[in-house]
């Protein structure tokens, strides 16, 4: 069988497993086991599973995710989210979709610092979704908004994905980081416009409130000083190098406990319950990521990426269209593979090709980062959507996926703009030597 057929059959198996209600994580493991058995031997295929699980579960860089999830849960139970959104509502509440737009920029800011879109969605989702619900925002938009804007964080430095791209390709990480800034802002603006326009047309989705007086605003802001201090500690600590993302999450979690205790809002029972809930969400995500690694090995050994790049090099069409084909490949791949494994899998193959076409490798890194970010919200395998599902519990998966569609469309518009005008991405990094 050719690599393409092996790959396609593997994907078909995966989809069938999804449809007969096998858990996403186990479906990926099972499909990978079957595929790898065909490509190597049954015993070899089986060997990948414990090794990949062990490696992912014991990965220090991954541990930022459970730590930030915990911070989100403690923050939620300590009432941080509500107070934060009361303040945001007092300022932006009178604008249609104002809270959604605030959420987008809050996620961009928070994610910018913590560098992981999954951790961002988990922290912000636990705080933002219940609060937006309180102000009668539509569930679907609230959930979709957080899931999608979590991806902004990987563009604005520091970013794990850009870092890995830099390492894989030996491009300047400093330049890559700087290059991510403008595209991150452009995408945030596209998403904000999309939600604003959508709310204009469907007023019930993000209803505007009364415009508040200055005094009331100050009062609401006064209540969030401790929350802001916590965020300043976590974010400032990350910027000024006080701690690693994992440490920041841990410190943030402890800070949220302290605020909760000081305000007498966090009970022992709530502490225990939230620890358990946070662990369950982390377990769900890491189990998926673990089995996704096995699935990634199936894709590696199917040699599909080699085959695709060989095929592309034989094409006799303008380089712009080749670039478009590569985009589509990344979008489709992103549906099934998580962002970092996907990056590691594809960049070694496509980077030399794109460079030969005369495209700027820094710019390509940014585009690839956006596309892998988009992959975290596209069905069927969308880690960010799963995170939101994990922390909201009552929202069906398909509703959250529907909610992200608006933002997906906005991100596509932004991406196409960035492809058409590479200088938007490149002028900042070109300023540094």
């Amino acid at each position: 069988m050719s690599p393409v057929s092996v790959f396609i059959i593997g994907i078909i198996f995966l989809l069938i497993f999804f449809l007969i209600r096998m858990p996403i994580a186990f479906s990926m493991g099972l499909a990978a086991l079957l595929g790898l058995s065909y490509l190597t031997s049954f015993h070899t295929a089986l060997m990948f599973i414990p090794r990949d699980l062990f490696e992912l579960f014991s990965s220090y860089s991954i541990s930022a995710i459970p730590m930030f999830i915990l911070m989100g849960y403690y923050g939620f139970s300590a009432g941080l989210g509500n107070r934060l959104y009361d303040a945001a509502y007092s300022i932006f509440g009178h604008i249609r979709g104002g809270l959604a737009v605030s959420t987008i920029f809050a996620c961009a800011g928070f994610g910018a610092i913590c560098g992981s879109c999954t951790a961002t969605s988990a922290t912000m989702g636990k705080l933002a979704i219940p609060a937006m619900k309180k102000y009668k925002y539509n569930d679907m938009i609230a959930a979709g908004c957080v899931a999608a804007s979590g991806t902004l964080g990987i563009l604005i430095p520091p970013s794990v994905v850009l870092l890995v791209y830099g390492i894989i390709t030996s491009e300047s990480i400093g330049k890559l980081f700087i290059a991510g800034i403008v595209p991150g802002i452009i995408l945030a603006i596209c998403m904000s416009l999309a939600v604003y326009i959508y709310c204009l047309k469907n007023p019930h989705v993000g209803p505007p409130g009364e415009k508040m007086a200055f005094k009331e605003r100050m009062k609401a802001i006064g209540k969030v000083i401790d929350v802001l201090l916590l965020f300043i500690l976590v974010i400032g600590g990350l910027i000024f190098g006080f701690f690693t993302p994992t440490q920041a999450g841990g410190v943030g979690a402890v800070g949220a406990i302290i605020i909760g205790l000081a305000r007498r809002e966090l009970t022992w029972k709530a502490f225990v319950e939230n620890t358990k809930e946070a662990l369950r969400t982390s377990c769900m995500i890491l189990t998926i990521m673990g089995f996704a690694t096995v699935f990634g090995h199936f894709i590696t050994l199917s040699n599909i990426t080699f085959m695709l790049s060989d095929w592309i090099t034989t094409l006799k069409i303008p380089s712009f269209f080749i670039m478009m084909i590569i985009m589509v490949i990344f979008l489709i791949g992103g549906c099934f593979v998580d962002s970092l494994p996907f990056m590691i899998l594809t960049v070694p193959i496509f980077y030399p090709l794109v460079k030969n076409l005369g495209y700027d490798p820094i710019w390509f890194g940014v585009i690839v980062t956006i596309l892998t970010g988009v992959g975290t919200i596209t069905p069927p395998v969308g880690i960010n959507v799963y995170v939101i599902k994990g922390i909201t519990n009552d929202l069906p998966l398909e509703v959250i996926f529907k909610g992200t569609f608006l933002f997906f469309a906005a991100m596509m518009v932004g991406t196409i703009l960035l492809i058409m005008f590479p200088s938007w991405t490149l002028f900042l990094p070109n300023l540094v030597r």
Partner: protein, 337 residues
């Protein structure tokens, strides 16, 4: 005919674009040509098939047929070979690589019996890459320095605090001041772009130490090869080519560092003596550990004196051949600008 082609999976954890990935591409091309297409390789760099901690296990078990990594990622597994990681004071990586192969050929540690060893090599000797200048031993006190395994122990012995951070993450960690520097080879200045974040490099070749790399093949895969193919592998100059590669990329790394404004610091002979003395407990501790696992002290000390003897031999040889390195004593060190 086509059906006779032997397909082998070659795994490497180094990213694409690096010399360590390219050199394997050269190996692959050469061997495919020399065996007249009898062997074909599928090459999986950048950890796409096996990451560094899984490399040995993955090759032994047949998840890949060939693999390249260093023994620091599987700390404790290759205890005898770990003697090569001691601060022996290899003067250059070229010397160190030859010494490592001599060691394997002479002592054949049992711990490699389950795979077929193609070659060993030792990467560029570690240098201190820091954000604050380290001119004397005392300057290192209290600094957080990236280093794992025995490299970490040397950091401890010298007065720093070792930190286990993966090489890709270390860039960000230095940037964010989570660590004050790294104890790692010169080439990483360029390969991992550390030159963008560190300001000083202290060259401490008098206690020169590196990471020991292995290039191995799955035993079954090896046994299945026809004799003529085995001969191609046996005669292929892996050792010489690896020694040359490590040497060249360190020179390139130093050049890159100079371009980025990194300052390079050499130790005075008196200061060097202090460092050698400070690093000695690491060797002593290693001897003790090995004695506790049942080796005789004489045997272990024998390995170490053999390493020093071969070091002196290959140092002379390098001088004779006129090969220059990025670091090392004046007569071996390349001139920069």
């Amino acid at each position: 005919s086509f059906s006779d082609t032997i397909q082998l999976k070659w795994a490497n954890y180094f990213p694409i674009g690096t010399a360590h990935t390219k050199i394997m591409e050269v190996f692959i091309k050469d061997i495919e040509a020399k065996t007249n297409g009898k062997v074909k390789f599928n090459y999986y760099p950048a950890g796409t098939l096996l990451t560094a901690p899984k490399m040995y296990d993955g090759v032994e078990k047949g998840m890949a047929d060939l693999g390249f990594a260093n023994i620091g990622y599987t700390f404790g597994r290759f205890k005898e070979t770990e003697v090569l990681d001691m601060p022996i004071g290899y003067n250059t990586e070229w010397v160190a690589t030859h010494v490592s192969n001599d060691f394997y050929k002479k002592f054949k540690p049992k711990e490699w019996d389950k795979v077929h060893v193609l070659a060993f090599s030792i990467c560029g000797l570690n240098v201190l890459q820091t954000t604050k200048p380290v001119n004397k031993l005392e300057d290192l006190k209290g600094m957080n320095i990236r280093g794992t395994g025995y490299v970490g122990e040397v950091v401890s012995a010298l007065g720093g605090t070792p930190r286990a951070i993966s090489t890709p993450e270390a860039y960000d960690a230095v940037l964010k001041k989570v660590i004050d520097g790294l104890y790692i080879s010169m080439e990483t200045l360029q390969a991992f772009r550390y030159a963008e974040v560190v300001k000083y490099v202290t060259e401490i070749w008098p206690i020169g130490q590196g990471y020991t790399f292995y290039l191995i093949m799955n035993k079954d895969a090896w046994n299945k090869l026809p004799a003529d193919v085995k001969k191609v592998f046996d005669e292929y100059p892996f050792e010489e080519k690896l020694a040359k590669m490590w040497n060249e990329i360190d020179i390139a790394g130093k050049k890159f560092g100079i371009e980025k404004g990194v300052k390079f610091i050499q130790l005075s002979p008196e200061e060097s003596k202090k460092w050698i003395k400070a690093a000695d407990p690491v060797i002593e501790k290693y001897v003790k550990t090995m004695v506790s696992t049942g080796k005789s002290e004489k045997e272990v000390r024998g390995w170490i004196s053999y390493l020093k003897e071969r070091r002196d031999y290959w140092t002379k040889k390098q001088k004779e051949l006129g090969i220059k390195s990025s670091t090392g004593p004046d007569f071996l060190r390349a001139e920069f600008k």
